[in-house]
Symmetry: C2
Subunit: 195 residues, 2 copies
DNA sequence: GTCTATAATAGGATAGAC
DNA sequence: GTCTATCCTATTATAGAC
């Protein structure tokens, strides 16, 4: 199998997914059609279907692409100091300014509610993210026992699901409220959690 | 205009909406069709269309019905003591055990992301809910200045959007994670906020 | 007011040429 | 590998009878 062709296929695949992501971000999952994606990509029906089996598969691939991209941004740097709850959230949420993720995330949630396959993908991402949060928070609690109590691990495990909620909360309020104050939200987060 | 007919029309309308809500809760917005709702309601196409102009209108009505029903449950009782952040959330989240709202809420969010009319409805509900939260929190902070600082109103305003996030966070984790521990989540909420 | 039957359309998917 | 043309199904919406 020639390497050039393989690379070309991969590039084209990604090109299609990028187009699909734009369409889904503009119109939602329900509001998007394969013809729209075909038009956006500049390719033809035949080409699209030779890469992906249909709208559902296309969406799953976009979901994986989007979530993987996002969650990879938050990977912890083992060399740097452990981050406080507020710093963690600040870093995560600041990567979401005007991003397509703001529109696409709710589409994923809605599909996850009714499609087991999408739910499985989302579930994995949630688990990866919360696990990363828990690890970071444990490390931070280790160095701040005065603010988090005697058992850093227990504290981190308890707090993680609550802190995690700040992500969908941010996305939804950002999306919905015209006068949502992002900076105030971040400040309040820092204020709410030990720092 | 005879009163019986008016009441009958209203009852039938609600009957249709209840059926539509069940269908949307099972299949999501995208996965639901008008024929499904027709079947679920036990009525006919003609009957449904004589009450509602189509799937979109049907969904908007279901959204309004669902959100209004939910948010009315949280209205504060002026006679009782102001509730702490944890108590407030406990009361709100405990009304969501296995409810259709768990599936429908994400459908609403997804549509809100792309449909201005749905977004407007959701926005109003968010504003009503956060305003109610803010009022309750201010009242509580008034009686607990030692835990909330000198300015109860400022404290409540800052904390409200963060506390509010606990609602979508609960719904999403409840929906997605098989081993989500609701009680631990509520406990952690109480622990996180002043109490 | 409600029913059944059907028209109209859109969207998903494929076949076959280049 | 990609394109154009086309088929097919599902879904929306309506017309006309009861």
């Amino acid at each position: 199998m020639p390497k050039v062709t393989e690379a070309h296929r991969e590039a084209r695949r990604d090109e299609i997914l990028a187009a699909a992501q734009r369409v889904f971000a503009r119109n939602g999952y329900r509001g998007s059609s394969v013809p729209m994606i075909i038009k956006e990509s500049g390719l033809s029906a035949g080409a699209i279907y030779s890469y992906f089996d249909g709208k559902e598969v296309l969406f799953r691939a976009v979901v994986e692409r989007t979530l993987e991209l996002k969650s990879s941004q938050f990977a912890s740097d083992p060399d740097s100091d452990p981050r406080s709850p507020g710093e963690l959230m600040q870093q995560i949420l600041q990567g979401m300014q005007g991003e397509p993720i703001l529109t696409i995330a709710p589409q994923i949630w809605a599909e996850a509610a009714v499609e087991p396959e999408i739910r499985a993908v989302l579930s994995q991402v949630f688990e990866r993210l919360t696990s990363m949060l828990r690890t970071e928070l444990t490390a931070w609690a280790d160095t701040h026992p005065d603010r988090t109590g005697a058992d850093p691990q227990a504290w981190a495990a308890r707090i993680t699901p609550v802190l995690f909620s700040a992500i969908p909360g941010f996305i939804l309020q950002r999306l919905t409220l015209d006068d949502f104050d992002e900076q105030a939200y971040l400040d309040a987060l820092i204020d709410t959690y030990p720092h």
